[in-house]
Amino acid sequence: MADDLDESGGFPFPMPSEEAVAMRDGSIESHPVGVPESYEEGKSTRWSAKAIADVHAMSQLGRYQLRGFNTFSRSMPTFDDLVFVPATMTRLPLEGYRESCETETVLGDRPGLVSEPIRLAIPIYIASMSFGALSANAKAALGYGASKAGTMTCTGEGGMLEDEREASKLLVYQITPSRYMLDLEHLRKADGIEIVTGQGAKPGTGGVLLGMKVSERVAKMRSLPLGVDQRSTVRHPDFLGADDLQVKIEELREATGYRVPIFVKVGATRPRYDVAIAAKAGADVIVVDGAEGGTGASPEILLDHTGIPTISAVRAAREALDECGMSGEVKLVLAGGIRNGVDAAKALALGADAIMIGTAALIALGCNSPRYFDSYAALGTAPGRCHHCHTGMCPVGITTQDPELEKRVDVAAAAERVARFLTAMTMEITLLAKSCGKSKVSNLEVEDLRALSLEASAFTGVSLAGIDRPYSW
């Protein structure tokens, strides 16, 4: 019978020996069959090396894990799923080397409200990262670099650092729930004020700054005891909903004499509704921060499992402003994992008025640069894959409060790199914009893009390549 392996079953030759059937030539005695790599790598889709390591870590520590940098999730669709379709027969491209493309970007310029709108020479500025998360040298370098490129920085939640105010020609001052160092004097030194209701890396959760980074200067600015593991509140102490936010915005306008624009920042979760509410509450600028946004420290699960991807957030945000007739009056800033001018140009085309870069700016400063190999090794990592911002032991002196490590940021050189990076990003944007026939970067539009995947098309409403129709339900 067929299930009797000893039977020759009609072969016109004798049964081969078991040794011959077992293909022993060259095979490993202990595991002659199976998926070859499974012995080297493990092939369980449920129990990856990371999943196993996570259980081991939690079972030893008895808590969730914290780290810096940004999401490690593989499930995030990216700007790489979109391509530009430059001008050809139906549109005229601009001459790349001869014709100009306007990059000036103005925030807070709705008619008759704010007396000093923010004028940026380029459509990119440096995202909010606190002094505390970053060293004072890093903050200063970002400020000088941004100023040289004609753009702006943002304080983050740790209060206004003198070094940064001095370095930054334009500076947005953040009001976070913890209100570190917030008073009239500092409010009036700002060129814009940002009310933070959430951030992309960990929407719905307050900031974290571990004790290793709560140095004397940081502790003083935040009115904290030295070296505590600071966990900030997430809910604002004096407003709850949209109606209160409206009153709060009016208060800030009164305090600053209607001089500077008021920003509201949201982590990308329900951008369609959040953006409409922020616009109704009276924000001049709405910052939408996608799930790929970076952070100095966060519970890892929040980085990987909360918030929606940046490319999916921007369309909803723009549509919300269109629907309430606020496009043009209220400006939309997008952030969250923008790596270069290409990502930025795609974000502008999808509907952003300006782009904020955080991690990319740190990398320009020198984050993950191939120096100080021993310091990387001490953290168990290496240049190109370090994500240990939370430890305060940054090998290149950016995300640290250690005075010796901080010296590794050469302010002048790092500032120059930031300025060059911003310039290069802007050139990438204008290169793409001119190829699409745009004399202003703000004229980039959804029609300039095509999607390479159903997913990207479905998330953004961008037409699929070739067929020229968006994926539709």
Partner: protein, 230 residues
């Protein structure tokens, strides 16, 4: 020079505040009438200002105060004196939620009760409440002093980083990570002196002082190396 009277009514707040500021700049004291519990009155005033509100005010009255003396005859809405760095605000009646939120300095004196979350995220200065303070008062305060003569609601002084909550009456419950202490004679003297300046001298009070137990100062695992396990 004579006091200037500014009427609020239904006029735009921007105009009302501008008139108050102009009067202050001209060196005049200001009396504000027909306040209608409007929001955002007398925001960001400086040390020259001496302002009296006849009636009740809405949210954020005296917010971001920077040295002004402000009196509210009746009640105040949410977050009176929020982010005040210096100056003195007196509320004749009750104060709503989050009175003195994230204050850095100065004095907030409430003659009635204060609502919940009084002095939340406070970073300095003093809040005196002649009545009771509501639940979660002092939540995650960093520094400064909240003094409540008739006691507190639930979760009093919850999760303090620093600062002190002084009670001369009962608390419904104490918040997490709090430590109840007996203030020293000198400390009591200091607080009583502050109260005496406000006409609230009373040597018979039984004080309890609540401070941080400092357990929440540090995450469960403090060792920097433990944070490298990712």
């Amino acid at each position: 020079m004579k006091d200037l009277t500014v009427t609020v009514g239904d006029r735009p707040i921007r105009q009302v505040n501008a008139e108050i500021r102009d009067a202050v700049a001209a060196g005049r004291d200001v009396t504000v009438t027909d306040t209608k519990s409007r929001h955002n009155l007398a925001i960001g005033m400086d040390a020259r200002a001496n302002i009296r509100f006849e009636g009740s005010v809405g949210y954020y009255c005296g917010g971001l105060n920077c040295g002004a003396r402000i009196q509210v005859e009746r009640n105040a809405g949410w977050a009176v004196g929020e982010a005040m760095s210096s100056g003195e605000i007196t509320v004749g009646g009750y104060a709503g939620m989050s009175a003195g939120t994230s204050m850095l300095g100065g004095l907030l004196h409430i003659k009635g009760n204060a609502g919940p979350r009084c002095g939340v995220a406070m970073k300095g200065g003093d809040i005196i409440v002649e009545g009771r303070i509501g639940y979660l008062s002092g939540f995650m305060a960093h520094a400064g002093r909240i003094i409540a003569l008739e006691g507190a609601g639930d979760a009093c002084a919850d999760s303090l980083w620093g600062g002190e909550v002084w009670l001369a009456g009962p608390a419904k419950s104490l918040g997490v990570d709090t430590r109840l202490t007996e203030p020293s004679a000198e400390q009591v003297q200091e607080v009583e002196a502050l109260l005496a300046e406000r006409g609230l001298a009373d040597s018979s009070r039984d004080w309890r002082k609540i401070v941080s137990a400092q357990r929440l100062w540090h995450f469960q695992s403090r060792d920097a190396k433990a944070w490298l396990m990712i």
